[in-house]
């Protein structure tokens, strides 16, 4: 009996020591981040956030949706900060008073992917716009996000005045789905598609596509963090949001981001914005 008590006591003491070793948990330990499916699908957040959570005692709840929905959720007061990649929408979010400040902190490139046979001869094009023109000329299948997302807006910008009409141009497929689903569709149909590199690499094994054009200036995709404005929205965890933003724009995180993808894909997937 005495031996049992002794063991119990040691266990209890060990546990209390362990508890003390952790940082004092913050008052409001839950931070709600609203972000897009592309960001989530790339795997970056599930790689980064545990570092932040261990160091600070915060828990980050990531909700991902299409860009429009991600922003709307924040406007509805369901997020403490947003992480999106749609400059125009971000600026509107801030100017309407929902966001405190737009902080661009990393970027990556869109790439044009397509079937190995490259029927439109996109490889070697001097820009994405030129590539798109070739695709339109050849009437080669092209899958578009069609959902007002950051990727979709970037795609429309590249088309410029020559956006195809999904009704009359049967080769232009407006899918209205997330990036992963669009890539799968492009693979099925042997179509071209504009995608962020990270999502493509993460899914490349199951796709019959390859990168036909990469890293043009007109394919840069910038990600920003925006803290939700507590003056306009109720229940915002401002302390938590600020802590997360500070960490994500800090040195430790930059190093982590720069390393992400190197082991798995041989190159970094995201680049930091030089201050």
């Amino acid at each position: 009996m005495k031996k049992l008590l002794a063991i119990l006591l040691s266990v209890v003491m060990l546990l209390s020591f362990a508890a003390c070793a952790k940082e004092k948990t913050p008052e409001n330990p839950v931070i709600r981040m609203s972000t897009t499916t592309s960001v989530n699908d790339s795997g970056l957040l599930s790689y980064l956030l545990p570092y932040f959570e261990d160091a600070t005692g915060y828990t980050v709840e990531v909700q991902s949706a299409g860009t429009g929905a991600a922003i709307q959720k924040a406007k509805d007061g369901n997020a403490d900060l947003i992480l999106v990649h749609s400059k125009a929408s971000e600026e509107e979010f801030v100017s309407e008073g929902y966001g405190v400040e737009r902080i661009p902190f990393m970027y990556n490139y869109f790439v044009v992917v397509g079937p190995k046979s490259d029927p439109a001869g996109v490889k070697g094009s001097e820009s994405a716009a030129a590539a798109f023109a070739k695709i339109a000329d050849a009437k080669a299948n092209f899958v578009s996000r069609g959902d007002d997302s950051g990727t979709h807006k970037a795609e429309l910008k590249i088309w410029g005045d020559n956006v195809p009409d999904s009704k009359s141009d049967s080769w232009y497929i407006s899918a209205g789905q997330g990036m992963g689903a669009c890539l799968t569709m492009a693979s099925e149909k042997g179509a071209y598609c504009l995608t962020d590199k990270a999502t493509f690499l993460a899914n490349a094994n199951s796709l019959e596509l390859e990168i036909v054009l990469s890293e043009g200036e007109d394919m840069k995709n910038t990600y920003s963090l925006i803290e939700c404005n507590p003056e306009k929205l109720d229940g915002v965890n401002t302390e938590g949001a600020r802590a997360l933003i500070e960490w994500m724009t800090g040195k430790e995180c930059s190093e982590l981001i720069a390393k992400y993808g190197e082991e798995q894909y041989g190159s970094a997937l995201f680049y930091l914005i030089e201050e």
């Binding site: 299409g66 429009g68 991600a70 069609g146 959902d147 899918a175």
Partner: protein, 216 residues
């Protein structure tokens, strides 16, 4: 962007898909349901349990199975049916046929036995008996048809996967609602939802009126 014409087109695709899903599911499921309901055989209870279980098949799983069957290198890939309304109908039938069988079978067990005996006593042919069963149970059969239709028009998981929500081609009301929701257009998505309910309501009323007319 001409919203009205696109909305009409989406409604058109929705109705076309639901019509075929409902009709095909009933044409296959009802005779099977009647057959099972009126027969007495060894594995009957097992079959009933099977259809009951299949009724609970998650739509997204049915979509996944059909997707894997019709994908480029799948067994039926050569038909090139993926991302078409036809394959959406196939996926929906997979979901709805067990429902139709199960409901018809229960209905048959309750209503049909005595009627079949009377018909046999009058030496009606099998065809005449079947037609009699149908006409005598119009209300119950109608409710089965409407259940099938309701399942079809409200379904989103399977049609999303196998149809791809392609604008002007395979976008239906439910997947359009998902898209608008993802875009953040919550109020518009809600409006689409209300329109969907209205369509369902109208179909229910028309169908009921049709049946009641005959009974007068």
């Amino acid at each position: 962007m001409n919203m009205d014409s696109e909305l009409l087109q989406i409604i058109g695709v929705t109705l076309r898909m639901s019509f075929f899903s409902t009709v095909i599911s009933c044409l296959i499921g009802m005779p099977l349901g009647v057959l099972i309901g009126k027969s007495v055989f060894k594995g009957k209870r097992t079959i009933k349990k099977l259809t009951g279980t299949l009724m609970g098949l998650p739509p997204v799983v049915a979509g996944l199975i059909v997707y894997m069957l019709f994908t480029k290198y799948g067994p039926f890939g050569s038909f090139g049916l993926l991302f078409t309304v036809e394959v959406m109908v196939i996926a929906q039938c997979m979901l709805i046929i067990p429902v139709v069988i199960n409901l018809t079978e229960s209905m048959t067990e309750i209503n049909a036995k005595k009627l079949i005996e009377t018909a046999k006593g009058l030496n009606f042919s099998k065809l005449k008996t079947s037609l009699l069963l149908l006409s005598e149970n119009k209300q119950s059969l109608l409710s089965v048809v409407l259940t099938a239709f309701g399942r079809s028009i409200a379904e989103v998981g399977a049609v999303s996967l196998v149809g791809g929500n392609i604008q002007w081609k395979t976008r239906v009301m439910t997947t359009a609602i998902m898209l608008e929701t993802n875009k953040g257009n919550f109020s518009f998505a809600l409006a689409l939802g209300i329109i969907l309910l209205l369509i369902s309501f109208v179909v229910n009323i028309l169908a009921s009126a049709l049946v009641r007319e005959d009974e007068e």
